[in-house]
């Protein structure tokens, strides 16, 4: 990687040609992260999104313990369809289940499905993209044709068709389904990064020193492609949360009694005239969560873009 000129001078003048891990070098390397971090922090919208995600995670995972609203499935017909009030801040549904507890439980499901499907998609996408870009030729051709197929079929149609066979309401299957549908764009991205990065001198240098193919791919090239991958991963989370909510809304995803924001909207919809709060809370949660992930993704893109001028 390029060592800043200043460091080079220090090395040449004071320390001689052998490269040691001097305090100056360490400081310089940390400052690269620092620059990115500072750029990100300057983007108010992105910081707002990050803070919202942090608060949301705390709300969904710690909320039940702090507020005591920890029984999302408890049916109390004597408390049915109550509007928001102090004991039930988000109201109750038609069988008297506490909506705050359900929104938190649904949030855990939606966030976990969104995040883990992103991780699975990323593993597949990075793996396939890396092999295609690195080896080129026949491997590239074969892998990219599969990617083309995955990109050509409208994902909602495929998602619904797959879900009638494989989903049966289990969250793990839904994670895998969503991952199967979202790895392709990451694979494309990683492939194009690898195609250009593998021609760089540092790869040749590492190869000369005896680094094997796998080592070159995952220790040397991949870290240099990290920026675009991180950005696309962030945007994938938002997209996958929408996927999950659409699937659950149409009854092919997470099934009742297990709460998810998508199936809560679907359940609240027939009662919208008498109890609109049943739709509002989960709908706004989906909306703001996806918005936040998109804002953070865009903020990261700007922060990681080396061509963006310092303002």
């Amino acid at each position: 990687m390029d060592v800043p000129e200043q460091v080079n001078m220090i090395l040449d003048d004071e320390l001689g040609p052998e490269i040691e891990l001097t305090p100056a070098l360490i400081r310089k390397r940390r400052s690269q992260t620092r620059i990115i971090f500072d750029r990100f922090m300057r983007n108010k919208a992105a910081v707002g999104g990050a803070i919202f995600i942090l608060l949301l995670v705390m709300f969904c995972f710690l909320g039940p313990f702090i507020t005591g609203h920890n029984q999302p499935d408890l049916v109390r017909t004597d408390l049915a369809s109550l509007p928001p009030s102090f004991p039930n801040p988000f109201g109750t549904d038609d069988v008297g289940r506490d909506q705050l507890a359900r929104v938190m439980a649904g949030g855990r499901v939606s966030l976990l499905v969104g995040l883990s499907s992103m991780l699975v998609a990323l593993i597949f996408g990075v793996g396939i993209g890396a092999f295609a870009g690195y080896y080129g030729g026949l491997v590239d051709n074969a892998l990219m044709r599969v990617t083309d197929v995955a990109l050509a079929v409208p994902s909602y149609l495929l998602l619904f068709v797959l879900s009638i066979a494989f989903a049966n309401g289990s969250p793990i299957n839904i994670v895998l389904l969503i991952a199967v549908l979202s790895w392709a764009s990451t694979a494309r991205l990683v492939r194009s990064e690898f195609l250009s990065l593998k021609e760089r001198e540092y790869v040749l240098a590492a190869r000369t020193m005896g680094a094997g193919n796998l080592r070159l791919m995952f220790r040397h090239i991949l870290p240099n492609a990290a920026g675009p991958i991180i950005v696309s991963a962030t945007l994938l989370v938002g997209g996958n949360i929408i996927f999950e909510s659409v699937l659950s809304y149409f009854g092919f995803g997470i099934r009742i009694p297990l709460a998810s924001w998508g199936n809560m909207v679907a359940q609240g919809q027939p009662l919208y005239d008498v109890a609109p709060w049943l739709v509002f809370a989960p709908a706004f949660c989906i909306f703001f969560t996806v918005l936040s992930f998109n804002l953070v993704g865009d903020g990261l893109r700007d922060a990681l873009d080396p061509y963006m001028t310092e303002r």
């Binding site: 044709r145 083309d148 197929v149 990109l151 050509a152 079929v153 409208p154 909602y156 149609l157 495929l158 619904f160 068709v161 797959l162 009638i164 066979a165 494989f166 938002g238 929408i242 909510s245 659409v246 809304y249 149409f250 092919f252 909207v265 919809q269 919208y272 005239d273 739709v279 709908a283 989906i286 909306f287 703001f288 996806v290 918005l291 998109n294 804002l295």
Partner: protein, 320 residues
């Protein structure tokens, strides 16, 4: 150019074949696939064998595929399990409704996106620009079913301005003019829902492409020779800035067969999407297979159209 189009067309053929193979295998190998649906559980072994033979399911999968491919290429997609109609006739009945909805939404979205894109590019970093930016972020983050639900509630349920769902008022006979009006009113909400999602993405796109063009030298030349600012925007800048957007629209149009599924599901629009949900609930595999294949073909064809359009509209692009 001609050779480029020809080469791309030839390249598209193996991809289309690959897609049909994948989709056919998916539908037939899925647990609970066609075999599980057409069998009456009380059928004995001999009855099963007879049905299998009747549907051609006793043959090896590759043979089944080739037979299916042959009939598909002649426009025969098989018969629906649900009502035994030819799939092609279901498609012929449903596609016009989807086309109407989709084309209208794309058209509205294109006009709005160009307008908002230009406004926020020209008034860059003003309050107006920020408002448009915020609204488009909202649009990107809003799932179609939430947006459709709220629009339905506000305009149809609360204000009684527009019909809730469907394509026309059932059980009413209007004269020509009123029936046209009735259909137009039914279109408004689905078109709004579908278009809003496109506008959100495209106006951002238009904004950045417009900002890029306005910086070019020829813009300054035009200004210097006395072209008025409005003419400069419309005649000089827009023509170049809109090129990338047109290709995006062409790609998006490839989603016509599958892209409106969710909107159609919310508004019970009697198009491809509603037929898809019917088929999904009935496990009507011939219809599902045809829908997957057709929608993928549209995507591939319009990706190609987008690439070609790009070359036609921007003579600087050279294909060798």
């Amino acid at each position: 150019m001609g050779r480029y189009i020809l080469r791309r067309l030839i390249q598209a053929v193996p991809l289309l074949l690959l897609i049909t193979i994948f989709m056919f295998a998916l539908i037939h190998l899925m647990p609970g696939g066609p075999e599980a649906v057409i069998f009456n559980p009380r059928l004995d072994a001999a009855g099963r064998a007879a049905i299998r033979a009747n549907f051609g399911l006793d043959q090896p999968l590759p043979i089944q595929y080739l037979k299916w491919l042959r009939s598909t290429l002649t426009g025969n997609f098989g018969y629906s399990f649900q009502n035994h109609l030819p799939v092609s006739s279901i498609f012929a009945k449903r596609f016009p409704a989807t086309l109407e909805l989709f084309v209208l939404a794309l058209f509205v979205a294109l006009l709005c996106a160009i307008f908002f894109g230009i406004v926020s590019a020209v008034r860059q970093n003003t309050v107006l620009d920020y408002v448009i930016t915020i609204v488009s972020y909202f649009g990107i983050a809003m799932p179609a079913f939430v947006l459709g639900l709220f629009l339905q509630d506000i305009f149809a349920v609360q204000l009684h301005l527009l019909p809730v769902s469907g394509r026309e008022t059932l059980g009413m006979s209007y004269d020509f003019f009123n029936s046209l009006l009735d259909q137009a009113l039914h279109l408004v909400l689905p078109v709004m829902t579908l278009a809003f999602l496109f506008i959100a993405g495209w106006s951002r796109f238009m904004r950045s492409s417009m900002i890029e063009v306005v910086k070019q030298d020829y813009m300054r030349t035009a200004r210097a020779k006395g072209v008025s600012p409005i003419a400069m925007l419309i005649r000089h800048a827009l023509r170049n800035a809109v090129i990338p957007l047109i290709t995006v629209v062409a790609i998006e149009f490839g989603g016509v067969a599958g892209g409106a599924t969710i909107t159609e599901g919310i508004f019970s629009w009697p198009g491809m999407g509603s037929a898809f949900f019917d088929a999904l609930n009935a496990r009507d595999f011939p219809v599902l297979l045809a829908w997957l294949t057709i929608s993928a073909c549209f995507v591939i064809v319009f990706n190609l159209v987008a690439d070609i359009l790009y070359g036609v509209m921007d003579p600087r692009i050279r294909y060798d």
